[in-house]
Subunit: 211 residues, 2 copies
Amino acid sequence: MLEFAILGLLQEAPMHGYELRKELTAKLGAIRAAISYGTLYPTLRRLQAAGWITEANETPTASDVPALTSRRGRVVYEITAEGKERFAQLIAQAGPETYDDTGFGVHFAFFARTDQATRLRILEGRRRKIEERREGLRDVLGRAAERLDAYTMELQRHGLEACEREVRWLEELIANERSGRAPTAPTTGATGGRPEDNSPPPPGESRKERP
Amino acid sequence: MLEFAILGLLQEAPMHGYELRKELTAKLGAIRAAISYGTLYPTLRRLQAAGWITEANETPTASDVPALTSRRGRVVYEITAEGKERFAQLIAQAGPETYDDTGFGVHFAFFARTDQATRLRILEGRRRKIEERREGLRDVLGRAAERLDAYTMELQRHGLEACEREVRWLEELIANERSGRAPTAPTTGATGGRPEDNSPPPPGESRKERP
DNA sequence: CGACGATGTATCGGACCGATACATCGTCAC
DNA sequence: GTGACGATGTATCGGTCCGATACATCGTCG
């Protein structure tokens, strides 16, 4: 999961670890807490060993005095061609493991780099999974209610509500996706001239860039 | 976390691993997927080594022929006095780590065995944590909106809504807790204790429902 | 009688977390 | 000016938990 997120983020700009973590936290804040350095740094080295990212020497400012003491600070990473390939492969492979809470969230966060067919597949897989969870909760609340104390029942009730809400959300996204619109599109129409604001690649069709 | 849940469940009845997992799944279905056996069995052995649970010899039915082939099937565990102490200690220690999604959910599921003061402390800690997450999301959606693509923004928006909803839920629970009522209480009857349950009464040491 | 699904115990590699350590840099109070 | 402090920045270690896998028993139904 983290591997996927790193490869996705580094396609927007080269970064060092600390920066990566901040961007990651901003982008994934809705679904998970800040990533631990204890995971980040080992993963970065693993990705480097695999050849998917490389160290980029920081552009030295001309006015900079080449310090005698080796400036061993920030290590900036950038993605390689193989890394981009790997990222595309991870998207294409998106399977059942992509439907759990974290996996779905991370993939969703990079939907702007995902082709529409895959977006649809992921959204529907996620919906199915949530529907199953919802049915499980309904079962417990219905058939096993007398075995549960009031607190446990309240927890299930709250969880059930969250499931129903997410299913509705997914339905909306799926409908939008099928009609070719961008997400969040209010049904009240575009009201004229607001320009398309996709600074990253446009939502239409994601092609692999050839450098 | 798992240790806590196991100790809590085994206070309701002795169980073997498979059963434990099913009960765990039912009780915690709202907050996390089924526990992995790769975690469960090692944990059971750890708890046994610590003296918090013991193997209970399965009550042999009189009609049972004592099989020559050692019946090495189900291993039933039951909690010890030390285990109950440990559980109480884990509740009393409930600190910041109790406020993340999983930790909070598990503790909440055993609120019936938690005293009111601790319940209140946990609920308020959780609320604070969610409020912080909410503010973070608002910041990102406000100040950094133009840096995000439409999908990422939609994810944040959905996460923000979930935060707001949970805060309201927590407020309600806290208010109920302060007024001494049970959660969501529409005059629920006694939460069904099992007849063979010889352990302390379900509501723990705190007086719940005031008639 | 044999296939199949539920029950049941168990291990292994890997992902990820939380605590901890340490070093540099800018800023602001004293 | 200096020193405390918070931000930036890299790194490791122990421990928890997951997912895949293996294997054995039991009841049931074609």
